[in-house]
């Protein structure tokens, strides 16, 4: 009875899990189909090439029918390299063979990657993500250290101000941010993509919680040894905070990589497009080329999926810790 029950649980979990990843599976299989295959109505999960052949004088040609004429067809014949071999041949329909062949069209990835400058978009995204990550870690460590371990006038008030700013969603302050960045002359520049995001209140909050939990004795001992304030941050706090730094880094990178609305609004030129914005424009330009869109979607999520598969324990633990109340 027990194994039966747990068997049912596994089956339900598997079915639900499958429905979670079906969109990804279909994305990948569609990205490997030929566009003709898709246009001819192959919706399923197996990339298949369908074509017609005709054998003449011991050689097999691919057939492209030009005209149907009763029991015969007028067709162009192509050799195995795809070159036109014979034009307007009159061939009997009964001799034309329907061929179904499993084939993966990896070239879709290359075509999509080259159709618009995706390499540039990748570089832009990585550049923005890395600078933002370092900025966030530095500003947050400094501020959280002061909030957690120093006494100063207005500490609680400044912290409350920070937290209340964190509650305001991005779309609310986006319009005036545009006005502000426009006044600064930063619209359509890396500055607009990076500088406003160099401080992350959530990370400050996360670091502060952790820094507070470090025992005071460590600081007292360090003070006796003549360690400076900054020395304590560098030699005691940060080495003890590796897990929380990893958590903050993961969220920062995922956030930068996937941010869409802000770069869409704040940049115009193609050289400054980040991956998500580039992908969005590509989806408008190539809206009928399903296979290329799927290929572009696949390679744009691939870096984070790989990161996730390597660091999944840390990422899932990090996500879970954000939901924990202190």
């Amino acid at each position: 009875m027990k194994w039966f029950k747990s068997g049912i649980i596994y089956i339900i979990l598997l079915a639900c899990g499958l429905s979670m990843i079906v969109p990804f599976l279909w994305m990948i299989t569609t990205s490997l189909k030929s566009q003709t295959d898709v246009n001819e109505g192959n919706v399923g999960f197996i990339p298949i090439d369908r074509y017609q052949t005709y054998t003449m004088d011991g050689k097999t040609y691919r057939v492209q029918i030009v005209l149907h004429k009763g029991s015969h067809s007028i067709a162009n014949l192509y050799d195995s390299d795809g070159n036109l071999a014979k034009e307007y041949q009159r061939i009997p329909n009964s001799k034309i063979q329907q061929v179904k062949k499993f084939k993966l069209h990896w070239e879709n990835f290359k075509t999509a990657f080259q159709k618009v400058p995706f390499a540039r978009y990748f570089i832009n995204t990585i550049y923005v993500a890395i600078i933002t990550l370092f900025g966030v870690l530095i500003t947050s460590a400094l501020a959280a250290y002061a909030f957690a371990r120093m006494q100063f006038f207005g500490r609680e008030w400044i912290f409350i101000l920070f937290i209340s700013m964190m509650m305001v969603p991005e779309p609310v302050f986006m319009i005036p941010s545009y006005i502000l960045l426009d006044k600064l002359g930063w619209i359509d520049s890396y500055n607009a993509l990076i500088i406003p995001w160099l401080a992350n209140i959530f990370t400050i909050f996360l670091f502060r919680q952790h820094f507070k939990s470090i025992p005071a004795e460590l600081f007292d001992a360090a003070a006796i040894d003549g360690c400076t304030r900054f020395g304590m941050l560098w030699r005691i706090v940060l080495p003890l905070s590796k897990p929380v730094i990893a958590t903050a880094s993961i969220f920062s990178v995922i956030g930068s990589w996937n941010s869409f609305m802000w770069p869409l609004v704040m940049t115009n030129s193609e050289e400054l497009r980040v991956l998500q914005v580039g992908l969005s424009y590509f989806s408008q330009e190539a809206s009928s080329q399903t296979t290329l869109l799927m290929a572009a979607s696949t390679f744009s999520i691939l870096p984070l999926v790989i990161l996730f598969l390597f660091a999944q324990k840390q990422i899932i633990a990090s996500a879970a810790s954000t939901g924990m109340k202190d």
Partner: protein, 311 residues
């Protein structure tokens, strides 16, 4: 320790300047801009509450507000129920836990832009997976993202019953957005719930077992009450994120975006449209402020509810 009393401020300064310049000032500006004529070219004259007076009579504003509420009202309960269900199942199993967690969590790390493109093609009428599955189970094809009729209208008309338009519910197109948004939110919420479930002491269940309580009784009597702090967190976060839905509307609907017949136009897309397509920054700010007030009110209300309910 010898210390200059200004030293702490030096540590705070970089973060403070950034937060002040790029959060505090823009948020204050939202108020100010909404009281002036303000286009891409700069500030105009003071117009007082004119934007707000216009807002009340603006049918597009109300449409986008109703659509946003539809989105939230469907996405939040669906996401909570499903993620709690998944988490409860995952909590039961011993083997393959990591494997299941990985596949459930995958949508969380993928970008909304990419998955919106994928789901748009899934809902494509000719070459999409959705109609393919409907055909497999013997149902007729649907218009999905092109269907402006409400889901209840469609459901009842299947049985020959006509219901008034205002009872029709979200359009099928908006329902496609709902499905995507639930799917995207499930991974994160499941992980949060799993962490919450693991915090419930085992002894509780053992005691219930001895008293002869069934699994179902245990779930409703122990699990749901004890996991309620997590539920409030998930409720709040999912509500706030869903109110801000933008990318999925921008990528999946239209042309024109927000279609068919404006049934997928949500509030954040309306802010974007009035601000950057129609270049009316002041009116867009007024709409943004309304969004802010709604989210703030809901947050405070949920916090109050939480204080009264938590076990």
């Amino acid at each position: 320790m010898k210390e200059n009393k200004y030293t702490p401020f030096l540590y705070i300064l970089p973060a403070f300047i950034l937060v002040f310049a790029f959060r505090f000032i823009p948020i204050m500006l939202t108020f100010i801009v909404s009281f002036f004529e303000w286009t891409i070219n700069g500030a105009g004259k003071f117009i007082g509450f004119e934007n707000y007076a216009h807002l009340i009579k603006d049918p597009d504003f109300w449409t986008s507000l109703v659509n946003t509420f539809y989105l939230v009202i469907f996405v939040v309960p669906l996401s909570i129920v499903l993620s709690l269900f998944f988490a409860a199942l995952l909590n039961q199993v011993k083997h393959l836990k990591g494997f299941f967690r990985t596949i459930y969590f995958l949508p969380f790390v993928t970008s909304l832009v990419a998955v919106s493109i994928v789901w748009k093609i899934i809902f494509n009428q000719q070459s999409g997976l959705a109609n393919f599955f409907l055909a497999k189970v013997g149902l007729g094809p649907q218009g999905w993202l092109a269907e402006s009729r409400g889901i209840f209208t469609l459901f009842f008309s299947h049985f020959g019953i006509h219901i008034p338009t205002w009872l029709g519910g979200p359009s099928l197109a908006l329902f496609c957005i709902i499905i995507l948004t639930v799917w995207k939110s499930l991974g994160y919420n499941t992980i949060i719930y799993l962490a919450g479930l693991q915090n419930i002491p085992k002894e509780m269940y053992e005691a219930a077992e001895i008293d002869g309580a069934t699994k179902t009784r245990q779930f409703f009597g122990i699990t749901i009450p004890l996991v309620s702090p997590t539920s409030f967190y998930v409720l709040l976060m999912t509500t706030i994120t869903t109110f801000q839905a933008f990318a999925q509307i921008y990528l999946m609907t239209g042309p024109p975006i927000g279609g068919p017949l404006k049934t997928t136009k949500v509030i954040v897309y309306y802010i974007y449209e009035t601000g950057f397509d129609n270049q009316n920054l002041s009116y867009a700010s007024a709409v943004a402020l309304v969004l802010f007030i709604i989210i703030l009110a809901l947050t405070l209300w949920q916090k109050r509810l939480e204080r009264n309910v938590t076990y």
